[in-house]
Every structure is written in structure tokens, then in C-alpha cells.
Symmetry: C2
Subunit: 447 residues, 2 copies
């Protein structure tokens, strides 16, 4: 069953990749209109899901994520489809053009990755979002939602499938909606047909998926972000940035989890101000023994439960709460070393007015985002100006950091000749030499 689903999506992908940007964007517009027309049924299905969730003592946070009727969530979801449709076409861009010999031209051209498997939890609007991203980028997608949103999911799936089949050139199988839970582990085995897995949900979900599949996974299992406050930090910037990075949205993967301070500032006003800013913002500081001793007495007595002893594991995991692990380092090099050893390669920042120190940090830290004098919370596709966000990747290949549509795209080579054979050329048995002359990719006409 899983194999058949994956295979059908694979065939659909080979058709979808040949459609023009207009045809793909037009399909998104039809989906948007179809969803708007079916708003009543979808919200009724959503209300039934919500009732079932409330009856089964589901957490308030999950119920909030599940609820599609609140504020303008439904309309925003539909607007989001149009925003994706209006993005620049990521496909068929010529990124390299080279004459290998007279009448033998090589082009490198962007193309879809193929088939995406998207696994998400309770937020039903992800269906619309990922459908839009997949079709816009020419990828087929197999979508698997959470159990709680099953009714909403089915109602939206009906609309999307009916619209695709009736009103667009996109094959119906290009978006496959899986309503049962049993198939996930089988789908994760279909590496012959599925090219990329995108988990949208908790870190636990991502980790579980990464452990189960050989298919590449675009995502991050955790966001262990650090900020290093250098001895040349501006005091006001340090306090503002660290407080923002910790408290703006503590559950975010780009929230700071570890604070590294240069030991030269221990006891100085900048250090005291920084601690005060954090604890007065409600943050509990998990400090090494060395640092616990260095907390000024007046602070300790005013905020008695905000200074606690750190465990080793505090520097190796996420709090996702108003907690922060704090440690002193001798210099910027030690900060870099700590981060490269402990971080999850997500986003790390230095606060300093000293440019050489900043350079050591920017060059040395091996994370997808390396920041100077700004909050780690900026690590986000919308803030980066990508127009959308497929996910934040802590992988080391293909796509890193906040990933927009370009993460769903790869490339292939076209070689256009006039009967050339390798046997005529040097290295293949002949004497003809390659010209290897660069051409202007912008001037290539593909059709």
C-alpha cells in the first residue's frame, strides 16, 4: 500500500515537473478558490475534531493549534496559497552554461527534487501551505497529518483532490493525503520513490523520523543556540539581545539555550546588568559552580530561586522554557570550541564591539547561522525575506538554516550536441580538445 502510494506520487512528479510556472500557479489559485468555497464544511469538520479533542483531555496548546476558526486563521491560510503562487518560479533557472566544444553546449538547470513526504502534527493549515509549496516547486507530496486533525484533514483533502483532477493540469496523485497512521513507517522505507522527508512538528517527531529512514530529512531535531558575550561587548546590546533571544519565544528552536560569558567581565557592571536583566525578565539561570559564586549578593537575595546549579546536560539540550545555561570561557576561541562541541549547528551569536574577535567567531563557528550583535531569534525564513519557510535545516548538505522554496529544488544537466561522440576527444581515444568556454546563463533559451 505504502509502495503503491509512493510509486503513484513518483509518476505524478514526472508529469508535474514538465508543467509551466503559469500552470502550477494557476493550480494553486484553483485550490485557493476551492478551499474558500468549502470554508463552511471544512470549519464544521474542524469543529468536530475540536470537540473530540476537548473530550479526550487534549492539552490546551494542542487544541489552540488545531483550531482553524479562530481569528482569521482560515483566511490567512488561503492568502498564504496566493503568496506562494506569486513567488518567483524556482524551476528552469540556468545556473551554469558552458560550451564544451563547438555545437556542444552544457546547461545546469534547476528542477524539482521529486517526491516529498511531509509529516506534520496537529496544525491543519500546514496542508494548504505544503500543498502550495510542493506544487509551486514542481514536487509531488505525500502528506501525513496528526490523528487529532483527521476530520479537518479529510475535508481539505477532498477539496484539493477534486480541484486538481477537475480544473488543473497537475495530476491528482501529485498531492497524496494519507489519513491513517499505520503507513508512516512503511512510507519511510520507500527510498526508491520518495526523495525528501519534511517533518513539521516537535523535535521529538523529527528525531523519531530521522531514526526510521534512509531518505534525507530536511529539518532540525533540536536548536541548541548559544550567545557568547565577549569582554568587548556593549553592555546595553548584550542585555537586550540575550533577553530577547531567551524570552521573545522560549519554545522556538532559535531561542538561546546557553550563555557563554568571557571570564574577564565576571564582577563587572556589564555582567551584573546582564544577570539582572535576565532574572528580572523571569529567566532562571543554570550556572556552573564558578559562576554561582560570582553572583552579586544583592541579586541573589532579590531573586533567590533564579540562580541554580547547572548540570552538564544543561549544556547539551534545549530548555524551551525561561531557563538558560550559563558558563564562563577564557576567550572567543574557547567560546567557538564550546559551541562547535555542544551546539546543534543551528544559530549562535557573539556580542562584541571588537571586530577581530567577531571575525574569529564568524569564521570559526560551524553552524547554519552565525550572528554578530543581534538576536538568534532572527533565524527564520520570513525574517530572512524568503517569503515562505519550508523548515529550518541543521543538515550539513543541500540546504542549511531557514529554507525557502530553494530547498525543494535541485538541478540537472542538459547537454545539447550535434552528433558528438567521446571517442573523438582527448581522454576518450581521440585528439579533439574541449573548448570549455563559459557562456552567459541569462542568454540561454531553453525552448
Amino acid at each position: 500500500m505504502a509502495e503503491q502510494i509512493a510509486q503513484e506520487a513518483h509518476y505524478a512528479a514526472t508529469v508535474l515537473k514538465t508543467l509551466s510556472n503559469e500552470e502550477r500557479s494557476q493550480a494553486l489559485e484553483e485550490i485557493r478558490l476551492g478551499l474558500i468555497n468549502a470554508k463552511k464544511e471544512i470549519l464544521e469538520a474542524n469543529e468536530r475534531d475540536l470537540e473530540a479533542a476537548r473530550a479526550s483531555q487534549t492539552s490546551a496548546a494542542l487544541i489552540k493549534r488545531l483550531d482553524l476558526s479562530k481569528n482569521d486563521k482560515f483566511d490567512s491560510m488561503c492568502d498564504g496559497i496566493k503568496e506562494v503562487a506569486d513567488l518567483e518560479d524556482p524551476l528552469n533557472k540556468v545556473t551554469l552554461a558552458r560550451e564544451l566544444d563547438e555545437g556542444l553546449d552544457l546547461y545546469r538547470i534547476t528542477c524539482p527534487v521529486g517526491v516529498l513526504l511531509v509529516i506534520f502534527e496537529s496544525r491543519p493549515e500546514v496542508i494548504a501551505n505544503i500543498t502550495a509549496l510542493a506544487i509551486k516547486s514542481g514536487n509531488a507530496a505525500v502528506l501525513k497529518g496528526g490523528r487529532e486533525s483527521l476530520g479537518t484533514f479529510k475535508a481539505m483533502a477532498n477539496v484539493i483532490n477534486k480541484v486538481l483532477k477537475g480544473k488543473t493540469k497537475v495530476p491528482g496523485d501529485a498531492i497524496k493525503l494519507i489519513a491513517t497512521h499505520s503507513e508512516v513507517s512503511d512510507l519511510l522505507k520507500q527510498d526508491q520513490y520518495i526523495d525528501l522527508v519534511i517533518p513539521r512538528g516537535s523535535n521529538k517527531l523529527v528525531r523519531a523520523i530521522k531514526d526510521q529512514t534512509k531518505i534525507p530529512v530536511l529539518g532540525h531535531a533540536s536548536g541548541i543556540c548559544s550567545i557568547y558575550v565577549d569582554e568587548f561587548a556593549d553592555p546595553a546590546k548584550a542585555s537586550r539581545i540575550v533577553v530577547d533571544a531567551k524570552t521573545n519565544y522560549p519554545a522556538g528552536c532559535n531561542a538561546v539555550e546557553t550563555l557563554l560569558v568571557n571570564e574577564k567581565i565576571l564582577g563587572a557592571k556589564i555582567y551584573e546588568d546582564l544577570l539582572k536583566a535576565l532574572v528580572s525578565a523571569g529567566v532562571t539561570l543554570h550556572m556552573t559552580a564558578q559562576l554561582l559564586d560570582s553572583v552579586p549578593g544583592n541579586l541573589k537575595s532579590t531573586y533567590p530561586d533564579k540562580f541554580v546549579a547547572a548540570k552538564d546536560s544543561d549544556f547539551r539540550g534545549e530548555f524551551l522554557s525561561l531557563d538558560l545555561a550559563v558558563k564562563a570561557v577564557a576567550d572567543v576561541s574557547e567560546a567557538v570550541k564550546h559551541i562547535n562541541t555542544h551546539s546543534s549547528k543551528h544559530t549562535d551569536a557573539i556580542i562584541t564591539e571588537n571586530e577581530p574577535h567577531a571575525q574569529v567567531f564568524l569564521n570559526g563557528v560551524d553552524s547554519s547561522g552565525v550572528y554578530w550583535n543581534c538576536s538568534t531569534r532572527f533565524a527564520d525564513g520570513f525574517r530572512y525575506g524568503f517569503g515562505t519557510e519550508v523548515g529550518i535545516s541543521t543538515n550539513k548538505i543541500h540546504a542549511r538554516g531557514p529554507v525557502g522554496l530553494e530547498g525543494l529544488v535541485c538541478y540537472y544537466y542538459q547537454l545539447r550536441g550535434h552528433g558528438q561522440i567521446v571517442g573523438d576527444y582527448v581522454g576518450g581515444g581521440g585528439h579533439r580538445k574541449f573548448t570549455h568556454r563559459e557562456l552567459d546563463p541569462k542568454k540561454v533559451k531553453l525552448d
Copy 2:
């Protein structure tokens, strides 16, 4: 043990990535000189490996690959290091520059992938080649060679390690040479420290490695390449190209394995000429029942053992010999469908003078190389003008087709601010808007 090796390479990578292009290229020059100075010892060790191989009835092909003394193989190997050193620096290229707000600039910058695990078989010159590629691209590498070349391997490893430690800024652990066989499977488990596996050897080796690891593998497990001869093919081009693609180097992954012919040409002169060209070049044609019947009687009597019945599996695997599976298709769309179902997404070609047919093929085939009127054998990093070849990838993400240095490179984001926090901006709780103004990447000064 494997974990320690991988961890040490990981730390070395974090140092190596901070070195300048000059420092990396200088290290390659020192290695080149070191190998030239040690030519005598290395060739003596190689001779001992060869003697052992001959004594153990090793195949002639393997002995040929193992032999470093023949022709100018040793000198070519050393020249190759200089060629890699002279390539353009793949690192620290700014590929995107965007002002997010006044004084808050985002740069996307190329960087090394991290730690490579390179597993190769008998050819000892791969050590020099991959050491050069890794250091030039700022990656640490763990190298595991075949048992047959162990002595040569150790002699070269001694030189490389001594040179790195004594004469360069590259940490000695950046190139780790593994001389025993036991550690491979353990190394393949070190996905925490190893970022990319590059197998250099037989398809069997690649497949075995892909089955054993969760680390991304850059390579191709097979090259099932097809050529489709359209009804509008030029007869001379068709024969020349198919014969070249099959016979120029039948063991190559870019050799053609399947010939698809438009059924309209069955019985025509172009078809007869094509068959004749192939069988007279020594190729055995494995034909479907329909095609076996269509072979002209005079050809069959002249070449009685060159026309045989095809099995289904002939269209799903590699011959790597002077054998070719042949099948008729109704039109270019059926050819595309056959290829997308059976090929290994390596390289496929159409022979036609009809541009609309060529377009259907070029747009529809989902392979890393899609060719028009030229031989599949052009799929090669040197022929593409990359100056080197790390491998040929049939993956769908990161790098596809012949891969040069750029396959060893990814990117990260730098964000340089002046104290900005997310809480001030729309979406983060504030009212400030992002400017998202494109900057010229060429004008960015990183240091």
C-alpha cells in the same frame, strides 16, 4: 576507536575551515613535494603490494589499478595535486546578500561540508587525489583504502601526515588514514561527526555502503543509461553515438545499457544500419521478442550469436560489457516513461532532428544528465570542465551528475547587526518592518 577517529577529524575540520585559500593551497604544495621526495619508498611499498597481489591470484584488472609505477602514474598523481591547488577557491563566496533592516545585513556564504569519509578500493592514487580535494575545500577526510594497497597506502599516509604536522597550518588530524578493515562499519555509524560518505569504487561497494549508513552518500550505485532513437533521428548520428556510448568504455557508469527505438523505424534503413553498426562493433543485442523478429535475415546470418532474447531484468540492470538491451517504444513520451521507470537517474539521451520531440525528452526525463544528439559518455567531471571529479551522483539533493569541488561545499548564513532584537519587529511583538533590500554579493567585504 571509530568514534575517536571521527571526533578528532571533526575538531580538525573546525580549524581547517578557518584557513585561507593560500594556506590550504600551500599545504597541498608541501604534500606534493613530500610525495615526490618519497617516490622511491612509496614505489617500493607499492611493489611489495603488487607481489603479494600476484601471489594471491588477484585479477589482472585489479593488479593494473594497484600498480603505481606504470607509465607516468606517480608523476600524474603529483601533478593532480597541483591542479587541485590551482582551482578557484570554493569557500567564502557570498552567494546572497540582503539588508534585513538598516545595519542588519544577511550574507549567505559557502563553507566546507565538514568531515568526509572516503572509502576506496585498490587505486592508491586516490589517496593523493582525495587529500587534495578535501584540503582545498576545507574538509577533513577519513580515508579507508582497500586491503590490496595497504603497504602503498601506509607509505603515502606517513608522508602526508608528516608534512601536514611539520610544514603546514592544516591540523594533522584533518587527514586520517585508516589502515585496518574492521573500522569501516563503525565509522559508518558516526553520523554525529561525519557529514558525507564518498565511496570510490565498484557499484557493489557503493550499494553496500548505502545500505549500512545514515550519513549522506555521494555517489551512484549504478548507471543504467538509455538512448532513445526517435523516428526523426539522423541515421549517421544515431549509429555513431550509440556505438560510442556502448563501446568507448563499456565498464563505465556512463556507458549506455538500454537502446529504445521508435517503432516507426523498425524495418527502415536507419534501423538496419544501427543494428549493423552495433553488432559489427562486437555488441550483443538483447532484444524483446517483437524486435528479434524484425532483425533482417542477412544480419542474423552474418552475426548469428549477436541477437539474443532479452530478459525483463536486462532493462533494470547494468551489463558493463558489450551487451545492450533493445526495445521498441511508440513515441518519445513512452521512451521518457520507460526511462523514468527503469533508469538509475544517471544520464540518458535522445537522438532526433525534431526539436519538439527533443523538448519533451529534455523536460521529461528525470535524470542528472539529459542529452540531445550526443553520447552519454560525456557525463564526466573533466569533460564538463570542472577540473576534477569527486564522483558522479545519482542523488536527488545537494549535488547531481558529475560533481566537482562544489559537491564538497555547502553554505551558512552570517547576520551582522548593531544590537537588533526580534521583539522590535512585526511578527515578534513590535512594529518595525524589515526592508529586505537586495545587496550586491560581489561588494560584500567579509573581513
